[in-house]
Amino acid sequence: MQILNEKIRRTTLKLTKEIPEAVVISPGKSAFLQTSSEMHGACLKCDNPSCINLNSEYIKCDQVKEFPEDRDTRVCSTGAIDWDENLEVPVIDDSKCTHCGLCARQCPVGAIYYSNDKINICYEAEGYQEVPYNENNIHQQNVLINEIRSKKRTGCFIVESDQIMEDIYGRIQRSRLLPEKFLRNIMVGLGCNCATRRVGDVYIRMDAIYNASSGTFGVIEVEFGVDTLSASRGILDDIAVLHSRYQIDKHSNTALVVCLSLPNLRQGYWQVIKDIAVIENIRINTLTCGAMLILLWNQLDLDLGVADFYADYDSPTIRMLLNNKLGRNVQITEKVLGILEPFK
């Protein structure tokens, strides 16, 4: 008996009439696409919507080929964005959405934007043509998307503020998303390859590994709770395992600890990070989800080999480091949510 084919549920997709020279992400509305006319980002009804699924090449890490990475390619850690088969477009369920903007970062034309306290998708704009869904047009669309991705992309998706960060952190905590996968998707949004341990795998202790396009490699521990000391200990374990079993030299391992809020001074974390730097000459980076999202909203990449996020007991803050990356002062009040400096 023959194997049946999946029915093609698609009828149309879209192309732009002109190839934009640059994509400028703008807060409050869909992106501005630089063409001969005034063009804005609107959904292309992608054959392979990158707002929903990541390219599986990005969720593995070539330096450690044996790493048993999770293969779930979903961009959205809460399942808020999904494909509507009748409308043939992605739709977002705001009740599940954390407003993280990861889907928006993946959309080639910047059709996804933040306004009225939620994430929106622009479906219609001037300068697009709707074409039948067929081999040829799918190919054309892929060529177009690759072309647009090679252009300059600048601008800002959300201008950070205390209020917005509080909303997002509240939503992240309520959503009970899997921290490792959320982090992995943020790393991919920041231009890295990142592989995370498969959910439920008890034999691999390290949470994730990443590499930036320049080749910077590192291991990541994610700690969304308060047990940050276990993260610094975990990192030493990870570095040792990679050094001794997988031939990743300890000094070529640009390790990173990611938390929701920076550890409080009394937890001992900052002191230990300093001890490790003094004794082992290993600088462990520390970042918060909030800081990473701000980078991502500003269309920036993360390469800790070029500009690190090292902070320790002597100066337990990442504010200046973030300002340097942004080229401006970050607009988060001191200590708010522990995003840039510890609460206490």
């Binding site: 008996m1 023959q2 194997i3 049946l4 084919n5 999946e6 029915k7 093609i8 549920r9 080929k65 044996e66 790493f67 048993p68 990475e69 999770d70 293969r71 779930d72 390619t73 979903r74 399942g79 494909w83 009970r176 498969r198 959910v199 439920g200 795998d201 034999y203 691999i204 202790r205 000391l229 276990s230 610094s232 200990r233 975990g234 030493l236 374990d237 570095i239 040792a240 395992v241 050094h243 001794s244 079993r245 300890k250 009394r266 001992g268 002191q271 230990v272 300093k274 001890d275 490790i276 003094v278 004794i279 082992e280």
Partner: protein
């Protein structure tokens, strides 16, 4: 009650495992659990003690214990895939397996397989011909019945209500179903009532309550994967207690509305029909599942309409809810749809694991326990034993010397005695024992956040931090404790509160040596290779054996060995 004995693995993983297995094993007529284990490990879908891929498999081959874990892993997947009707027993026994026609569609799907997956979830029904010797008798299409229950129970259910409800009902009887709903409604409002009913259920099944609770993991995972329910925490059901419950989604309600209109065919009714009708129902069952999942049925449309005509009395205009691969043996299905697999002539080079289940790959055996001769030389130094806690211990030993015959018995009695020790007793005890062995040892009082280590051997040149795990924290020393010992060493080197050298050991002391000895040995080796830090691990029994020998025989102990200690030691192994 239906026993779903499987951890709830993720949807994405299940589909991925299926796709990988199909790619690797489709050319074999059938495959064993060992074949599966081999593919799963090679494709990095299984790991063993920090190794993945080939290395994990090699470990699995050389260590009986992890071999079993590789097979367990494969078996776990096999059971889920069989339950979903993607693989099926090839012969009379549960294994070996072969791929089903439906399974091949999942494996080869390019698009979104969620719809077909959901159809397979709705296909799960009991009893069926595939699960031999079940310990339950319920006649139920569980997931359909569960959705119905959600709707009848104000859209929310607590997981234990699933056990008491749809997992323990014959849904073919409307009366029984209604009684079940009424019973659950009557439980609501009082958490004690629910708990009592749940414990009674466990009792009646001759099970402890935890394994009964575990039976909800797979169904909850499947319901969630399909987006039929979501978690919600609410105190609506059993006020004032806030409980982690499940709420049916809009999609769940729509899915049920559709299921309700269908002809739900179960095995007994199926068996009551003649062969022609049965064959037609098999074909219709399979094709209609694919049709509902968005497959193009044009090539089989004619067959389907002919079959529908043949079965019109059974169906009475309804569409068919019947998943043959989840209900009957595949021989009958093959007969109805014709053998679907393409035969190839190349026999496949099978697994890495050999037939006898033993060694294939080479991995140097890990020396889990370094034996340590206890040559005891130096004289005891009792002058450090001044604390009340030290006194206590010495007293206890003296008493025992009067009662017990041998040193071994004394050690065993003490070892037993400290089995329930908390930090407050255990830290001083360890410190006392090191003092008896001739080391100046000081412990930290629990809750003293300033100190990083739990005790320290304060030496003029070679101080040793000690990480202590009391048996009430963890009976067996864990990898976590090893990590802490490494941190202790780095902190000590950096902050220089006591003098030491990098080459001096950092200790972990606990009640029992680690369970995962191979992995602990390896990680100790890794720390040594990477940072040049030596971690020594000692259990209480060893410390007691040495100390009692020092006390009773009055002989000393070769202290040099401790400074250099690396790996696990055990005096009585």
């Amino acid at each position: 009650m239906i026993r779903f004995r499987n951890p709830g693995t993720q949807f994405a993983t299940q589909v991925h495992v299926m796709q990988i297995l199909y790619k690797n094993l489709k050319d074999q007529d059938s495959f064993t659990i060992k074949d599966m284990a081999s593919v799963i490990a090679q494709e990095r879908l299984m790991t063993a003690y920090g190794y993945a891929g080939e290395a994990a498999l090699e470990l699995s081959n050389t260590e009986k214990e992890s071999m079993n874990s590789a097979l367990m892993n494969a078996k776990m997947y096999a059971e889920v895939l069989r339950m979903l009707g993607w693989v099926t027993p090839s012969g009379e026994k549960s294994y070996p397996l072969e791929f089903t026609y439906t399974g091949a569609h999942v494996a080869l799907a390019k698009g979104d397989v969620r719809k077909l997956y959901e159809q397979c979830v709705f296909g799960i029904n009991s009893p069926n011909e595939l699960t031999a010797r079940m310990s339950y008798t319920e006649q139920v299409r569980f997931f359909k019945c569960a959705l119905n229950s959600f709707i009848d129970l104000d859209e929310i259910m607590y997981k234990h209500e699933l056990c008491l409800g749809p997992m323990s009902v014959n849904d073919i009887s409307t009366e029984e179903y209604n009684n079940m709903i009424a019973r659950i409604k009557a439980l609501r409002g009082n958490a004690t009532r629910l708990k009592k009913a749940f414990l009674e259920l466990a009792d009646s099944l001759n099970m402890k309550s935890t394994p009964v609770d575990n039976c909800t993991r797979l169904p909850v995972a499947l319901l969630k994967s399909c987006g039929l329910v979501v978690s919600c925490s609410t105190n609506e059901l059993y006020p004032p207690r806030k409980m982690e419950c499940l709420r049916i989604t809009k999609h769940g309600k729509e899915a049920y509305a559709q299921l309700e209109t269908m002809k739900d065919l179960r095995i007994d009714e199926f068996n009551s029909y003649g062969t022609d009708i049965q064959n037609a129902l098999i074909r219709l069952g399979i094709y209609s599942m694919l049709q509902r999942s968005g497959y193009d049925i044009a090539p089989v449309e004619e067959i389907m309409s002919a079959d529908e005509a043949l079965c019109h009395e059974v169906l009475q205009g309804k569409s068919l809810l019947f998943s043959p691969y989840q209900t009957i043996k595949h021989e009958r299905i093959d007969e109805a749809i014709g053998f679907w697999k393409e035969k190839t002539n190349n026999p496949v080079v099978a697994s890495v694991l050999d037939e006898s289940q033993t060694v294939v790959g080479g991995r140097t055996a890990v020396n889990a326990i370094t034996n340590w001769d206890l040559d005891v030389e130096t004289k005891e130094r009792l002058e450090w034993l001044k604390l009340e806690e030290d006194d206590d211990f010495l007293h206890r030993v003296k008493e025992l010397v009067g009662i017990e015959n041998s040193q071994e018995q004394i050690v065993n009695t003490l070892f037993e005695y400290y089995h329930s020790a908390k930090q407050g007793t255990f830290y001083p005890l360890i410190s006392t024992l090191f003092k008896i062995m001739g080391f100046q040892c000081a412990f930290s009082r629990p809750g003293d956040n300033g100190a990083r280590w739990d005790a320290i051997i304060d030496d003029e040149l070679r101080s040793i931090p000690i990480e202590i795990k009391s048996p009430t924290e963890e009976e067996h020393i864990s990898v976590k404790a090893i990590r802490q010992a490494v941190e202790n060493k780095i902190v000590l080197l950096s902050r220089r509160t006591h003098i030491t050298e990098r080459s001096v050991t950092t200790l972990v002391v606990g009640y029992y040596l680690p369970n995962e000895r191979a992995e602990v040995s390896r990680i100790i080796q890794d720390f040594k290779n990477t940072f040049g830090i030596k971690v020594g691990v000692i259990d209480l029994h060893t410390l007691l054996t040495i100390s009692i020998s020092v006390l009773i025989d009055g002989v000393g102990f070769d202290k040099e060995k401790l400074y250099e200690l690396e790996g696990m030691i055990s005096a009585n192994s």
